[in-house]
């Protein structure tokens, strides 16, 4: 699996599709970490070849504009960009 898990309180399955160089992606990861929420992330820019194509398709399914961060919660809800209010609401922070 390509995802790196960051431990914390479980508020459901939280996946962050990120770029290693992106400021908003860093803010999103830091926000969840600071609030002690468990999440997994993948830095898509660091992937190559088939692995990258597969993850890119996954992101596009949720967010056709293929922008980052794309946060998918419980395989059912997608938050695009660092939207603190929406994250607080959805993850009950």
């Amino acid at each position: 699996m390509n995802f790196t898990k960051v431990p914390g309180r479980n508020r459901g399955k939280v996946l962050i599709y990120a770029l290693s160089t992106c400021g908003w992606c860093k803010k999103t990861k830091q926000f969840l970490k600071d609030n002690g929420i468990e999440y997994s992330y993948v830095d898509v820019d660091l992937l190559q070849g088939d692995e990258r194509d597969k993850i890119v398709k996954e992101v596009e399914r949720w967010n056709p504009s293929l922008s980052f961060p794309t946060i998918v919660i419980n395989d059912s809800l997608c938050v695009v960009g660092f939207d603190e209010r929406k994250l607080r609401e959805t993850l009950k922070i």
């Binding site: 770029l19 992106c22 960009g81």
Partner: protein, 162 residues
């Protein structure tokens, strides 16, 4: 892992800040955040050979990524509409002075793809007119300048307008 020293970041940060301010642009005053993005530009320079936008997925093929080389083709439109570029490396004066907050903004790139202009109206002007796709600077001469005097975008970012 690509290593970038603090000295390299500092040097580029100071250069970009000066160039921005000389031309009426502003870097984000959250220096920690901004220096993080400057470091990312240096990482992308080593990875791809050009300053691919740190907040977008670059293809690694320069021709395909021309519109997202920093400063990107979308910066000025985003500054006008949201007070910040997509990464929030560049911000409006109000944001730089703390009068307005920035947040993550929508991606303009796919919603409104900017076509490169290939057909220009016939004219009897003595020189063709070139337009910088980043800042809109116009000049009439045989070839576009090597570097845009306003926004420092390179020659390849110009399109022929007339």
């Amino acid at each position: 892992m690509i290593e970038i020293s603090d000295g390299e970041v500092e040097k580029l940060y100071n250069k970009l800040k000066k160039e921005a301010e000389d031309a009426g642009y502003f870097l984000n005053s959250d220096t920690e955040f901004t220096k993080g993005l400057v470091k990312s530009l240096l990482i992308n320079e080593k990875r791809y050979g050009y300053w691919a936008c740190p907040c977008r997925l670059a293809s690694g093929v320069k021709e395909k990524d021309l519109d997202i080389i920093c400063p990107c083709d979308y910066r000025d439109a985003d500054l006008n509409e949201y007070g910040a570029c997509y990464c929030a490396l560049y911000v409006s004066e109000d944001v730089a002075n703390g009068k307005k907050q920035v947040t993550s903004i929508p991606e303009r790139r796919r919603a409104n793809p900017l076509e490169r202009q290939n057909n220009f109206p016939m004219s009897n002007l003595k020189y063709p007119v070139w337009r910088c796709r980043v800042c809109g600077y116009l000049c009439a001469r045989d070839q576009p300048p090597m570097v845009c005097p306003i926004c420092k975008a390179k020659q390849e970012r110009f399109e022929r307008m007339i």
